[in-house]
C-alpha cells in the first residue's frame, strides 16, 4: 500500500499528541487509567500507520514478531506480582533498549547515509541502546537475586569503562569517515554491550531503582536517536518525553535518598561519618513484644499510623495489613498510612502495593502531610521499614544519611516495629529508633506478625 509521507507524518503527530495527553492523564489517579489507554491508542495509531509505509513489502516477519512479543509481554504483565514491579520494569526497559539497538543497526545496514548526522545518530542509538539492554539485564538479575546484590568489581574497572566508552565514540567518528567499516561497527556494538554490564555490576542491589530509572531515560534517548536516523518525528518526540521522565524520576529518588547521582553510579554510600556501632546503639535497650500485647495497645488507640517499607513488599503483607486496618476501623480507630517517597525499592512502590490490597489512596499520606500528625498518634506500626524512619538522619550530623528527610515515627506515643531481626536496612546503619523508650519490637515475618495481631485483636 502507498500513502503520502505527509499523511504518515500527521498520523505520527496524532500519536505524539496522544502520548502527551496520556502522560497528562497520569497526573491524577482519577484520569490515570484513561491516560494509559490514550497512550496505548497513540502507540496503536503509530504502528498501524507505519504498516502502510511504502518500504514495507512483506508482513510475515512482522506478524511473527508481533505475535511472539505480544504473547510474552501479555503473559509477563498478567503474571508478575506487584512486589516484583522493579524487576519487571528493569526487564521491559532492557527490551526497549535492545529494540533501539537492533533498529539502529538495521537502519545502518539498510545503508545509504549520505549525511553525517544520520551516522552519528545511528551510532549513538546503537551505543545507548546496547548499554540500556545489558545494563537493565544486570539490574534485573540483581533485583531477582539471580546474581549477588553486592557491588562487584575489579581493580581498574573505571579505566576499562573509560576505554570502552571512548573507543565507542572513536568508532562512531571512524564510521562517519568510512560508513562501510562493518568490523568497526560490530566492535563498537560489542564494546557497548560490555560497557552496560560493567557500569551496573558495581552498583549495590538496593540502588537498582535509580539505575533503572536512569536506564529508562537512556532508552528514551536511544529511541530519540533512532528517530533522528529515520527522520521520524514520533520517535524523536516520544523518546524525549521518556528521557525527561526518566531523568526527573532519577532526580527525585536521589533527592529523597539524600545522595548525588554520581555517588549512586560510583557505588559510594556517602562521604565521611563514623558509622555507629550496632551493639552500642541497641545494647540492653531493646524491648521485645508479642502480637497479643500489640493487640491490647491497639485496642485502646484512637489513631494508628501504619508505616510500610521494603519489608512489606518482601513479606507480601499488603493484604494482611489491609485486613488489620479494616478490623481497627470497624472498632472506630482512625487508620492512616505514612508513605515515604523512597520507601520500598522504587518510587511509588508502597502506593501500588497498598492499592493492590484495595487501600483507598486518600488514606495514603505523603511525608509532609503525615509528619505533623505523629504527635497525635497513639500507635505507629512500622512494617518492614527501617532507613526511612531512622532518626539519625534528622539528628546525627556525622551519620551517612544525615539530611535525608524521614518519617518522624519516633514522635508517636508508642512505636511498634515489625521486622525479622535487628539487621539493618538498605543503608546498612543501626537505627536508634529501635532502642527508644516508646518503641516495642515485634520480631517475625511481616505478614505473619500482622495476621497474628489481627487475630488477637478479633479475639480480644
Amino acid at each position: 500500500m502507498n500513502l503520502s509521507q505527509n499523511w504518515i507524518d500527521i498520523a505520527y503527530l496524532i500519536a505524539a499528541v496522544l502520548f502527551v495527553l496520556g502522560i497528562k492523564g497520569l497526573t491524577k489517579p482519577k484520569t490515570a487509567v484513561r491516560g494509559n489507554l490514550l497512550a496505548a491508542t497513540g502507540m496503536g495509531v503509530a504502528c498501524v500507520i507505519t504498516l502502510l509505509h511504502h518500504d514495507i513489502v512483506s508482513y510475515g516477519t512482522i506478524i511473527a514478531g508481533v505475535v511472539i512479543g505480544g504473547v510474552i509481554g501479555a503473559v509477563m504483565a498478567k503474571k508478575v506480582q506487584m512486589t516484583s514491579m522493579p524487576q519487571m520494569v528493569a526487564l521491559l526497559n532492557g527490551f526497549g533498549g535492545g529494540a533501539s539497538f537492533a533498529v539502529a543497526a538495521a537502519e545502518f545496514y539498510r545503508g545509504g547515509y549520505p549525511d553525517t548526522v544520520g551516522i552519528i545518530a545511528a551510532g549513538l542509538a546503537v551505543l545507548i541502546g546496547a548499554v540500556t539492554l545489558t545494563g537493565s539485564l544486570v539490574a534485573f538479575a540483581k533485583l531477582q537475586e539471580l546474581i549477588d546484590g553486592k557491588p562487584l568489581g575489579f581493580p581498574g574497572m573505571k579505566a576499562v569503562n573509560a576505554v570502552l566508552l571512548l573507543g565507542s565514540l572513536l568508532a562512531i567518528a571512524v564510521l562517519v569517515q568510512n560508513p562501510g567499516a562493518h568490523g568497526i561497527f560490530w566492535a563498537m556494538a560489542v564494546a557497548a554491550l560490555v560497557l552496560g554490564v560493567l557500569l551496573v555490576i558495581p552498583i549495590g542491589g538496593a540502588d537498582m531503582p535509580v539505575v533503572i530509572s536512569l536506564l529508562n531515560a537512556y532508552s528514551g534517548v536511544a529511541a530519540s536517536a533512532a528517530g533522528f536516523v529515520m527522520g521520524n518525528s514520533a520517535l524523536i518526540i516520544t523518546g524525549s518525553l521518556v528521557g525527561a521522565s526518566g531523568l526527573i524520576l532519577t532526580q527525585i529518588m536521589c533527592k529523597a535518598m539524600n545522595r548525588s547521582l554520581t555517588n549512586v553510579l560510583f557505588g559510594v554510600m556517602a562521604e565521611g561519618g563514623s558509622v555507629m556501632d550496632q551493639d552500642e546503639v541497641y545494647e540492653g535497650k531493646i524491648k521485645s513484644t508479642s502480637a497479643e500485647e500489640v493487640a491490647m495497645l491497639l485496642e485502646t488507640a484512637q489513631r494508628v499510623v501504619i508505616v510500610p517499607g521494603f519489608g512489606l513488599a518482601m513479606a507480601q503483607a499488603q493484604h494482611a495489613v489491609r485486613d488489620l486496618a479494616d478490623t481497627l476501623e470497624a472498632k472506630g480507630v482512625e487508620v492512616e498510612y505514612a508513605i515515604h517517597p523512597v520507601a520500598g525499592r522504587m518510587p511509588g512502590h508502597m502506593n501500588v502495593l497498598l492499592a493492590e490490597a484495595e487501600v483507598s489512596y486518600d488514606k495514603l499520606k505523603d511525608m509532609d502531610a503525615i509528619n505533623p500528625t505523629f504527635e497525635q498518634t497513639d500507635v505507629a506500626i512500622v512494617l518492614g521499614a527501617n532507613d526511612v524512619t531512622n532518626p539519625m538522619a534528622r539528628e546525627d550530623k556525622g551519620s551517612p544519611i544525615y539530611g535525608m528527610p524521614i518519617l518522624n515515627v519516633d514522635k508517636a506515643r508508642t512505636v511498634v516495629v515489625v521486622k525479622r531481626s535487628l539487621s539493618p536496612g538498605f543503608a546498612g546503619l543501626p537505627n536508634p529508633l529501635f532502642a527508644m523508650d516508646n518503641t516495642l519490637m515485634l520480631f517475625g515475618d511481616g505478614k505473619g506478625a500482622v495476621v497474628d495481631i489481627n487475630a488477637a485483636l478479633k479475639e480480644g
Binding site: N36, T61, G73, V103, A105, V242, A355
Partner: protein, 91 residues
C-alpha cells in the same frame, strides 16, 4: 525533515516532558515508570519498517528481533500499567 527541525522537536519535547512529569504525584510514580517505559517502545515503529522491508537477511533478522523486543516492551508495559492503575481506580 532537516536536522535543525528535528533538534527543535527534540528540545521542545524535553521541555514539555519535564513540565508534564513534574506534575505526576508520587502515588503514581511506579505506574509512570512502567507507562513511560511502554511508551519508549515506540521504536516498534522503526522495527516494523526494518522487519517488513525487502532488504538483506541481516536487516530482516535485526528487524525481527527488534519487533519481538519492542512488542514485549509495549504490550507488557501498557498492560501492567493498566493493571496497576485499575487498582488505584477501584475506590
Amino acid at each position: 525533515m532537516d536536522f535543525v527541525a528535528q533538534l527543535t522537536l527534540f528540545v521542545l519535547a524535553i521541555f514539555l516532558g519535564v513540565e508534564l512529569i513534574t506534575k505526576v504525584p508520587p502515588t503514581l510514580h511506579t505506574p509512570l515508570m512502567s507507562g513511560s517505559n511502554a511508551i519508549s517502545g515506540i521504536t516498534l515503529v522503526g522495527a516494523l519498517i526494518a522487519a517488513g522491508s525487502n532488504d538483506s537477511v541481516l536487516v530482516q533478522v535485526l528487524g525481527f528481533i527488534a519487533v519481538v523486543l519492542a512488542t514485549i516492551n509495549v504490550v507488557g508495559g501498557f498492560m501492567v500499567t493498566n493493571r496497576m492503575l485499575a487498582m488505584f481506580k477501584r475506590k
